[in-house]
């Protein structure tokens, strides 16, 4: 039952917000729904930790440790972003950011507070659906629900971004649909394959050794291209910087952390099937290729970037590449490092977007030139957190991402991928230099003659809460969470 609650509660909030007549009702509905969803995700994680995979309706909804981990990450980002959004959208309304749009005001709030819960609910369904077809439907639904979040401000550039997002995502997902058909076909000579359960991941994974090999090979390639598009792996990444820089900041935070996880989750599911059917070398090699390409492509764009939201987007492409690389390296260590990195990246990247949102709202621009530095003097709290989160995400010790990236390197070196190791270090250094140079200048640089501005309670406190989580899990990862991460890694490696 708890599985049902997890994705239906946000949906209920969407219905309430669509019908509500005041902003307050929508805010309360969203906050309450994401709060409940977070509690439900915790409960699911607890159940999975205690007694193994949970399922409902004869295995239609199914949660193992991997689903529980991704659901928990999604729900925690969603709850923090929903608090942040209250402050962010009120500030937008106060400062007249909606005026571009003809039907400003309440309808803007309604758009945000209706689409966001639908978006989150679809993401939660992605991880709970056992059936690969239903998973596809849910991933497509995440795209459709978020297109109009990208066009939120109704600017000409937002339309362009949304068009790219919808069309590139649509093509990618049609490939993923083909992959789903082929995965279904690959089991065609096994008994019971023509029922609804024949497309269940848990069923396919259990008999992966007997699946048709040629079909599975093609299915994995298409799934990699399809869900890779959704994860923003290069060369299918071009929609990403546009969508992230045009969407309102809380939506961009969800897109860059939670939705990235969902797309990678789809990839992991296919990786497990292909790995058990064909051996880990074939899917692993392809993942390494795309992972390295994504890391490599993002370096020059990070180095010369003029816009800090686009900087974060390219940085997300880099991290999608890092995670694809970790999965490609595979093995016990690679899988564990992937799950650890996913957890840390989710927290750090959504935090960065929230900081960028504060800066953006204060200075009414997202260009480095126009802010001219000195954020730390005008917004002491945001500036400090921004710099800290940036240090964390480029992998500075003692922050946790150092730990996970180091583990990935160790796994790569240990398994004999020397070229990948060398490139990883090279690209990592490029990103490190670019990101720190730009954000360091933004936060610490000269300028900032205006007096410091006071805190915005909703916006800044939610950001601080996320920062606190980042620091805490960096130094002390709670044992249940660590167990969950280990469990998720075991889903990948089997046994």
């Amino acid at each position: 039952m708890i599985l049902l609650l997890l994705f239906l509660v946000p949906l209920a909030a969407a219905v309430i917000s669509a019908l509500a007549r005041t902003r307050r009702v929508m805010e309360i509905a969203n906050l309450a729904a994401f709060g409940i969803a977070f509690a439900a995700a915790l409960a699911v994680a607890g159940q999975v930790a205690a007694g193994g995979p949970v399922s409902l309706w004869g295995g239609f909804l199914y949660a193992d440790a991997l689903s529980a981990l991704v659901a928990l990450l999604t729900a925690s980002v969603a709850v923090v972003c929903s608090v942040y959004a209250v402050g962010f959208l009120r500030e937008d309304e106060r400062s007249g950011a909606f005026e571009d749009d003809k039907d400003a005001g309440l309808s803007q709030f309604r758009k945000y507070y209706t689409l966001t819960p639908v978006f989150v609910s679809a993401m939660l369904l992605v991880v709970l659906a056992n059936n690969l077809g239903v998973m596809w439907v849910a991933i497509e639904a995440t795209t459709l629900a978020s297109v109009f979040l990208v066009t939120f401000y109704g600017k000409v550039t937002s339309l362009e971004a949304a068009w790219k997002y919808a069309i590139i995502g649509g093509v990618g997902l049609s490939m993923a649909l083909f992959a789903t058909v082929l995965a279904y076909y690959s089991a065609h000579n096994l008994p019971g394959s023509d029922t609804l359960a024949g497309l269940n991941w848990s069923v396919l994974a259990a008999q992966a050794g007997q699946l048709d090999k040629t079909t599975m090979r093609l299915a994995f390639i298409l799934a990699l291209l399809g869900y890779g598009t959704k994860a923003g792996l290069a060369p299918m990444h071009t929609w990403k910087p546009d969508a992230y820089s045009e969407a309102p900041v809380p939506s961009a935070a969800l897109l860059s952390s939670a939705m990235l996880n969902c797309a990678l989750y789809g990839l992991v599911r296919y990786y497990v099937l292909a790995g058990r059917c064909l051996g880990a070398d074939f899917p692993g090699g392809l993942l390494l290729l795309f992972g390295m390409l994504s890391m490599g492509i993002s370096v020059p764009f990070v180095l010369v970037q003029k816009n800090f939201r686009r900087l974060l987007a390219y940085h997300t492409i880099d991290h999608a590449g890092i995670m694809a690389t970790a999965l490609g390296i595979g093995g016990k260590l690679g899988a564990f490092a992937l799950m650890l990195h996913m957890t840390y990246h989710t927290v750090a990247k959504s935090l960065l977007f929230l900081c960028a949102g504060n800066v953006c709202q204060q200075f009414k621009t997202d260009l480095f030139d126009k802010v001219k530095g000195g954020v730390i003097r005008i917004m002491p709290v945001t500036g400090t957190v921004f710099l800290m989160a940036m240090l964390a995400i480029v992998g500075m010790p003692p922050f946790p991402l150092f730990q996970s990236e180091f583990l990935i390197l160790r796994a790569a070196f240990g398994s004999g991928h020397y070229l990948a190791t060398a490139l990883f270090v090279l690209f990592g250094t490029g990103i490190f230099a670019g990101a720190l140079l730009h954000v360091g200048g933004l936060v610490l640089g000269s300028g900032g003659e205006q007096p410091a501005v006071p805190l915005h309670p909703w916006r800044d406190l939610s950001m601080l809460a996320m920062a606190a989580i980042l620091v805490i899990i960096g130094f002390w990862l709670p044992v249940p969470l660590l167990d969950l991460i280990r469990g998720a890694a075991r889903v990948v490696t089997g046994g």
């Binding site: 068009w163 049609s174 649909l177 279904y184 076909y185 065609h188």
Partner: protein
Amino acid sequence: MDFLYNPEFGERLVTLMAAMVLVLQIAMVGQRGLAMNIRLFGAQSFLLGAIAAAIAWYNHAPHIYVAAGMTVLVKAILVPVLLEKLVKRIGIQHEIAPIVNVPLSIVISGGLTLVAYVVAESFYHPEAHAASLGHNTLAVAVSLFLIGFFMMINRRKALTQVVALLTLENGVFLAAICLTYGMPLIVELGVFFDVLVAVLVLGILVYRIRESFDSMDVSKLRRLRG
């Protein structure tokens, strides 16, 4: 009336209809008018529905009738009507303006069909799955997919890209029908729902792009770079 119960006739009928689907796809590549493209897409979807119904009849698989009915309802009626309405509302009957000229596009489509046959050959095992349909149908499905891709790249106008995306999806549907007699029903319904919502979403976007840019030429969407 024996032919109604003769599976061999059924297979020929399906192959014939699949060939017509492919012809329509190539006609879409060759046609320059937008309205004509939408109608060709409608006709293609209708034929797909007919193929699904024929397979359901000759293989006694009643659950495919639902997929057949949904295809005709959603893709042959609702989607073309919605798109035509949008074309009227935007008030232009412009031409498709491909990047590669029409004769060359058709030659490329022919080449892609050849590639599709090679691909389909590689994973079609008649001995393993007695009831599966001839690899002709699968090859047509893969061709639709590849030519759909080519159309996406080759077209500049927003609405024509939407039509190309829909033919891609038609290819996947045909592959699902001929490889596995369609997906489980609930998945199939979910896919139809997504297609319908996607057309609505893309339609609204096209309308708004047209309003703000005064053009649907997506090659003019070039403000966001780097």
